[in-house]
Symmetry: none
Subunit: 399 residues, 2 copies
């Protein structure tokens, strides 16, 4: 599919703005029977929905709750079931570590082992991030022959390990036995080519054990989610777009960088993101604009806060339209219904506005209204081709 | 897909009830323009539809009329185009023969041949089931070296042949030339490994010819639909569910057993099925509850009887809801429109009720209303993942 798009993409001067409201989709609050989107006063989104083609996006598959990685890969045009990104890589992207082709990343936990080496706490009592940073300094002294070793603190007991060198494999089993009272297991190669990488990882773990011996409760490490940085077709080349990502949160910048977008420096608030968008409007064809507040409120299970987050985004819509994008898309990477206080599997509303988007009967930007939209219930990775078409950037298929 | 679900399934204490109304879908009666569901007074289903997510299921592919086997496999989460079950196996399941891994089953007909051995009636004048039983007794005396031979009567001229042993193949051509005036053809192996099985079958047929020589009109047999019992991923393991099947009819018990569900002993009426459901409510996580009356009336071409069957089911709905399932699904394995007096290819209404099913505009459980549902027109084998999600039994995909 991406090859087909690449072969059909043609130059144009049109501009595309894709606004991703993280965790956009919701569910009715039992007391009122109305979802967050149905509760919020969002006159600008309502007006836009009436002018746009609407529908619902499914990011992975029916019933499957997307993580942020697969959710955004789908929006960027990549089938998340085909382009898998391991947890180690996602963790590294989440701290905006500059992963390079061939790097192998793993998610690390500090843990506690007893005198016999058996695990007594898989999270080392959730040590503070401060302690994590200090212990990571110790691990950074580890040298392995033939590869560069990077250790980066994440939060509390979590860190990231990255090995950089030639001929590394990400096909390794985890060292976490996922149970207390057992010793960490050696990393095991899951393919013949992984033997050397497994050996390097096990030497790292041995050194870590030695360096952390006096650091209880964080006197040992567990590693899992090994993966190589996947080689994804580059977004700017597939779609022929100068693409900029504007996101206050590192994870989303990391995901955009993974597909080859330019990650533009911005501030920590959405107002600053919009200001950044305005500043760079002339320099790019495609903008991925990330809005985090909806997801944060949903994850907190705070229905009212999510409603307010939607209303704040709505207030920014006139400013986005004032830039006169040729294609304006509003959608999200997954649902985060406040009543679930976490990601959900529900399809996510999407609207595609352009001069050529066609008419449909939808006049409100809600989960329920979008069911009747002309876009139907579509796989998220079908969105980008549709957006490209609306931007008059795809030539016809066949003579 | 099943592998993905298996990797994401997590334990929970939620309970799922899947009610399959056999042949649920219908078509408008020309005199009124209203289908069976649109004609029936089904207040409980109507109320449930208003609270539930609704849609339509397509079991196989557009325009394809499902048999009961593919129809139910789809409901159980198996793509019926990938997991094929031969007619011999379905026939054996239909009489609840205890098929085992490696068994090869075929569908048999008694037929009539003339003095020259040419077929004059492919169904032996549709002999009575009584005669069939008596002749099957004769065939049961046949011994073949190295395999066990089972012959079971079905109905009228039909019987089932099962060979049990090691190294058998189900890839055999039929012995029925599908035309009068020709002799039965020898079974032919369709793969190299099938030569021995073909030989065994041909010896069985030779013996049968000898044993039936004086039994005109049923003086010969025809065999077709050879297949091995397929090895399907086991439902309880894929979905992590203790699964019980409650069905008065043997075919549906057989299909449930095929995927590894526990088949619970029940009586011959739907009221008895519901009583069985209540008795076993604590012991299982998932219940497949089969309702046959809708299909029977549809097959008879009796529109009014099908309407009444729907109303009888509707009357049982409050009793089902009183069990407080966390997820309640009402749907069917295929359409049996009374005006077709047989199975139809039409998509079948489905409703999924849970606390997290989301809202949609559908307020009636009919073919026409469900078109506007939030589930859209979905492949039946996508239902189970969605049901699992609604039961909060799937973790998220990707971090």
């Amino acid at each position: 599919m991406l090859e087909l798009i690449r072969s059909l993409a043609v130059p144009n001067t049109t501009k595309i703005l894709l606004a991703s409201l993280d965790g956009l989709g919701g569910l009715p609050r039992p007391e009122t029977g109305r979802s967050e989107l149905e509760t919020a006063r969002v006159p600008n989104l309502t007006a836009l929905a009436a002018e746009a083609a609407c529908g619902l996006l499914r990011h992975v598959a029916p019933g499957i709750t997307p993580g942020s990685g697969p959710g955004h890969l789908g929006l960027f045009g990549y089938d998340p079931l085909r382009f898998l990104v391991g947890r180690g890589v996602l963790e590294a992207l989440g701290i905006e570590f500059d992963l390079r082709a061939g790097d192998v990343a793993a998610r690390g936990n500090f843990c506690t082992v007893d005198a016999g080496g058996l695990i007594t706490d898989r999270r080392a009592g959730r040590i503070s991030t401060e302690v994590c940073v200090r212990l990571v300094e110790r691990l950074r002294t580890i040298r392995l022959s033939g590869v560069d070793v990077f250790v980066e603190p994440v939060r509390e007991h979590r860190f990231v390990l990255v090995l950089r060198g030639t001929g590394l494999s990400g096909r390794l089993g985890e060292t976490d036995p996922q149970a207390l009272g057992r010793a960490p297991v050696p990393a095991r190669g899951l393919e013949a080519a992984a033997a050397r990488t497994a050996d390097l990882v096990n030497r790292f773990v041995d050194e870590a054990r030695r360096l952390l011996a006096d650091a209880a409760p964080a006197n040992m490490v567990l590693l899992r989610g090994f993966d190589r940085l996947p080689e994804l077709p580059r977004f700017p080349e597939v779609f022929g777009l100068r693409a900029a990502a504007i996101a206050a949160y590192p994870m989303y910048r990391g995901l955009a960088r993974l597909v080859g977008m330019d990650v533009v420096k911005t501030g920590g608030t959405f107002a600053q993101e919009v200001a950044t968008l305005r500043e760079h409007w002339e320099a790019y064809d495609f903008f991925f604009l990330h809005y985090k507040d909806t997801d944060k409120a949903g994850e907190d299970g705070d229905f009212d806060a999510k409603v307010e987050a939607l209303e704040r985004f709505d207030a920014a819509v006139p400013g986005l339209r004032a830039l006169r994008p040729d294609v304006l898309v509003v959608t999200g990477d997954h649902a985060t219904p406040a009543i679930l206080a976490g990601h959900g599997w529900q399809p996510v509303p999407v609207l595609v506005w352009s001069r050529h988007c066609g008419a449909d009967p939808v006049t409100a930007f809600t989960e329920r209204a979008c069911v009747a939209g002309s876009l139907g219930l579509m796989p998220a990775h079908h969105l980008m081709p549709l957006v490209m078409a609306n931007a008059l950037r795809l030539t016809k298929f066949g003579a």
